[in-house]
Structure formats: C-alpha cells, structure tokens
C-alpha cells in the first residue's frame, strides 16, 4: 500500500514536472512559430511579386489580407469577407456580408488588431461577436491584395487541389487584370523525377504572363517543350530576352511534363479554377465595396 502511494506521488510529481517543461516550451515557442510562419509566407508572397525580402521591400508596397467566410444563418448561406478598413489599432477591420447571388447584406465592424487577425481562433471569435447571435461561420480562404502607392498591383491567392497523389498546395500571384504574375508550389507529394518537376521553373513559369482570357481556356499539350522557351523559363538568358520569348508563347497552352501528364493537368486545372473563382468573387466584392462606399486601403 505504501508502495503504491509512493508510486502515485512520484508519478504525479514527475508528470507535473514534465507538464511544466512542455508547457513552458509551448508558451515560449508558439509565438515564435507563428512569427516564423508568417515571415515565410511573406517571403514567398513578396517573392512572387518580384521583391527580395532580404534586400528590403519598398515602403510604398503594402500587403492587405482579406479573409473569406461562409456564414450560415438558419438555413441560409451567405458569404462574408473580413477586410481591413482602417489603420487604427482597433476597429481596423470590417466584415462585409454578401448574399449568394452577390447582393449586399450588411457590414459589421470587427474589433480585432493586425497581429491577432492572423490567429484563426481569435479572428473567428471577433467576427462572431461582431455578427451577433444565431450565426455560424466557416473560414474559407485568405487572399492578399498588394498595393503600391494605394494602387492595386497584385493579388496573392493560396489554394489546393488534388494532384497525382495527394493535394498540391500552391500560391498564385495575379495582376489586377488577372494575368498570372507567378506560381509557387508550396506543398506536394508527387513522384520525384516525374510529377515533382511541377515545382521546377521550366514548368511553373509557363503560367507567367497568361492573360485571364487565355487562362479561362487553358489546356495541356502533350508535346515537348521548345528549347528556346525552356531556356527562357529557366532564366538562363537575359530578362529582356525572356520577356520576348514569353511574349511568343503567351497564348500557347501549357506544355505537359514528360511522363507526368496527370500532374501537369492537375496544376493547370487547379490554377484555372482558382483564377476563375477569384475573378468572379473579387468582382462582386468590388461592386459591393463601391456601392456601399466602404473605405478600403486597396
């Protein structure tokens, strides 16, 4: 009996000690983790826009985050966007609710600051408080709008779609007219040497410069990649020449990776879908913002 008591006590003590160590580490690292993750995303985002984080970002360039939600009120579904509206410490965000057919429902100021808006639970909580009772929300996605001197310069979209094996996570940069600015493959599990080549320059850079009109009907061609195009895509020639070559291939379809047609098609269709959906949504959102005269920094 005494034995058991000592065991219990010692186990409890050791559990508490272990818990303390782990808890302390968690508290110390959790913020750093978020920070690092954010920094990494920023790096990729700026990279897609053509800036190098290590060399410094011009002051006029700003990134604005836009969070999309699906709101359920009773049986009714609607869409909501959390947009930054002010630059103040508090009340800098507004939740714009739009019905499924694109008409404005309402706008709600959300009490949240720029640091905690990145934390999903904090953000959800703040939105729910702002919306009031009887509504449930589901986070859908996040879009970043880049501005320079308060002019929109690009959209950064993240998305995922099924690839050959598992989901492929990508980040896509679009110009204001939805011409593709850049594509970055964030996560994938395609076969090395085959589907994994989607993250190589010569494949993903093919998307650069495709206009929205071209993207809408983008297909994959199973023919070998022309040599001059490949040189340009790999960035082996000077920038001016690259631009020239790219101009030539602007309206061409995507050249499939040899032996990895399925991966190539998935990426193409994925990019197509993301672009089309976004173009549709941003149109509606812009219309609503204009109609309601909501002050947004983009």
């Amino acid at each position: 009996m005494k034995d058991i008591m000592t065991i219990i006590i010692r186990l409890t003590v050791s559990c508490l000690m272990a818990g303390a160590v782990m808890g302390a580490t968690f508290i110390i690292t959790s913020d750093a983790k978020k920070q690092n993750k954010y920094k990494n995303e920023q790096k990729v985002s700026y990279g897609l826009l053509g800036y190098d984080v290590s060399k410094g970002i011009p002051a006029e360039v700003k990134l604005h985050e836009l969070f999309r939600y699906v709101v359920t009120t009773g049986d009714e579904l609607s869409v909501g966007y959390l947009v930054p509206t002010g630059h103040g410490e508090h009340g800098g965000f507004t939740f714009i609710s739009i019905s499924l057919d694109g008409s404005f429902i309402g706008q709600y100021p959300v009490d949240i600051d720029h640091a905690s808006v990145r934390d999903e639970s904090d953000r959800d909580q703040a939105i729910l408080t702002a919306l009031g009772k009887g509504k449930t929300i589901r986070y859908a996605d996040q879009t970043v709008i880049a501005t320079a001197n308060d002019q929109r310069t690009a959209y950064l979209l993240s998305g995922k779609f099924p690839g050959f094996k598992t989901f492929i996570h990508v980040m896509l940069a679009l110009e204001p007219d939805f011409t593709i600015l850049g594509l970055e493959i964030m996560e994938h599990e395609e076969d090395p040497g085959l589907g994994a080549e989607i993250k190589e320059d010569y494949f993903k850079n093919q998307f650069i410069g495709k206009s929205f009109a071209a993207v809408k009907y983008l297909e994959v061609d199973k023919v070998p990649l022309p040599d001059d195009y490949r040189q340009a895509l790999d960035g082996k020639i000077s920038k001016e020449e690259v631009a020239l070559v790219q101009q030539n291939y602007k309206d061409k379809n995507i050249y499939a990776l040899t032996g990895a047609t399925i991966s190539s098609v998935s990426v193409t269709n994925g990019v197509k879908g993301i672009t089309k959906k976004f173009a549709y949504r941003i149109g509606i959102l812009d219309a609503v913002i204009q109609e309601q005269n909501i002050a947004v920094p983009f």
Binding site: A18, M22, G102, P162
Partner: protein, 311 residues
C-alpha cells in the same frame, strides 16, 4: 477476443447509423457520372417540364456556395425517373456537391448533397494504409520490429495480429482523447506524451484482458506485447489521424489498414526469409543487411501501387 471484436463492430455500426438515415424522400439515388455529369434518380416519375428546367437547379461545390456551376442541359429518361445533369465544365469530384432542386410548390428548394460514396472513401483509406502507403514498405515505419520478428512465420503472424489489435484500440482511444480533450482545451502540444501513454495503456489492457479471457492466446501473443510499446508504427497512427482530423470511422479504417498492412508485410517478409535460410548468402550480407536488401526489393515492388486511386 471474439466478443471484443463484436463490440467493436457494433460500435462501428452505431456510428454509421446517422449517415444511413440521411437518405431523402424525393431523390432515391444520386451519383457522379461522366466527368461533367450528375445523375439523379427521383422516387416518383417527374414531369419533364420541371425536371429538365435548368433554372430549377442550383449546384455548387460545398466550400464555394457563392459560385454556381452552370448546367448545360438536362435529359430525363423515358420513365421520368432518371435525370442527367450535364455541366459545361468537368466537375471536381473530390468535393461534395450541393444540389438544390426547386420542387413543385416553387417555394422551398429540396437540398441534398452529391459526393463520392462515403463507403468507397472509407475503403480507400483502408486500402491506402494497407497497400498503397504500406507503413513498412512505403512509409518506412516500424522497421526494428519488422526486421526483428520476421524470421519465422509464426512469430510474424502473432506479432502482426497483436499489432493490429493494439493499433486499432489505441487509435480509437487516441481519437476520443484528441477530439474531446486535447482539441477543446488547446493541449495539442501534449500529443506525444498522451498518445504514447494511451498506447502503453492499451498494451497493458490487452495484456490483462487476454490473460483472463484467452490464456492460450496470451501465451502466444504475450511475448510481443512488450515489444509493441516502443514502436513507431503504433504511435504514428494517432499522430497521422490528429494531423488529418479524421473522424471516428476514418480512424478505424486507418488503424485497421495500417495494422493489417503491417501484418501483411511481416507475413510476406517472413515467408521469404524462411526460404532464404536455405540460400548461401555472402558472409558480409548475412542477417540484417540482406534483410534490408530484400525489404528494398519489396519496396520496389510496392512502387507499383503508387498513384493508385480506387475511388
């Protein structure tokens, strides 16, 4: 042992009931057809005027309710029961599609979901863990035990079964713990400690139960139970299900697939190694090195499953 399996089965059936009760009264079946097609079967013959009117339908992918999919044409079969919805673009069949049909009264639409068979999805999790992503040959987990206990077929079988049982039980416990304790209380960082604790607990429980219920089985399995605790295959299952936010049935399937995949790998390897005992293996390769080479050959063969999509 038997009653235990029975209970497990009962539990699974209970968990499934809600999903079975969901069948609608207007539509008897719905499925994806061609890449750009949804096939609906009505319970009663429907008039062509209503059933083929594009405006009566609203279809969207579940996560994107604001983006309506455009229907090109709708054809109705002669008996008025089966409607084929042809869309202008191929559908993304991995997503659940929500279809709203305006019924006769034109007031409230009848809403239902079209998705790939959930059973098929569960089955594909099982097959994936069993073959396509076999824990030993394509995920490279549990190798110490794999090489240690694959010398004889008997041992391999015993080990494989013990593993499967412990894996299923501990995965289910971990799932409950993860869903109802760790997630609500933001204790995710305690994953490792909790899961390994649950695995040890399961091993202890299986040990005790087996000792009481079936001593003969305990005699043959007991030895392996000790080996189970410190094994990465077992602990990997809860980690994966926590990562992927699996639900109960998916957890069950994953653990079952992983366990039987381990059993399969062990059994095949042991039968091969029993055969290899008669061969003159070069001296420097005897024992573990040649086992590695053979396992590598297995892994090469299992590459054949890569990219396999059953449903």
């Amino acid at each position: 042992m038997k009653s235990f399996v029975c209970k497990l089965f009962l539990l699974a059936v209970l968990a499934l009931l809600p999903s079975l009760a969901q069948a609608g009264d207007l539509i008897t079946s719905k499925s994806f057809g061609e890449p750009n097609e949804i096939i609906l079967t009505f319970a009663a013959p429907t008039s062509a005027a209503i059933a083929t009117d594009i405006n009566n339908y609203t279809v969207y992918e579940e996560p994107d309710p604001d983006i309506r999919l455009t229907i090109d044409t709708i054809t109705l079969s002669a008996d008025g029961k089966t409607a084929h919805l042809i869309f202008s673009e191929p559908l993304n069949t991995t997503e659940t599609h929500v279809v709203a049909v305006m019924t006769h009264d034109k007031v409230s639409p009848f809403i239902f979901q079209v998705a790939k068979s959930y059973w098929g999805y569960l089955f594909s999790i099982l097959i994936s863990a069993l073959l396509i992503n076999n824990f030993v040959f394509t995920k490279y987990l549990g190798l110490c035990v794999f090489f240690g206990t694959s010398k004889r077929k008997d041992t391999a079988k015993g080990m494989g079964f013990t593993f499967t049982i412990v894996m299923v039980v501990s995965a289910i416990m971990s799932w409950f713990f993860y869903q109802y304790v760790m997630k609500p209380f933001h204790l995710n960082f305690l994953q490792i400690v909790v899961f390994i604790g649950l695995v040890s607990l399961t091993v202890q429980a299986v040990d005790t139960v087996l000792r009481k219920v079936n001593p003969a089985l305990f005699q043959s399995f007991g030895v392996y139970l000790v080996l189970v605790i410190a094994n990465c295959v077992i602990i990997a299952v809860p980690l994966i299900l926590a990562d992927n936010e699996y639900n109960f049935l998916e957890t069950l399937m994953l653990s079952l697939g992983a366990g039987s995949g381990f059993l399969l790998a062990l059994y095949l390897m042991s039968s091969v190694r029993e055969r290899m005992e008669f061969a003159q293996i070069p001296k420097t390769f005897e024992g573990i090195p040649i086992a590695f080479i053979v396992a590598g050959q297995f892994a090469l063969a299992f590459l054949g499953f890569s990219g396999l999509k059953i449903f």
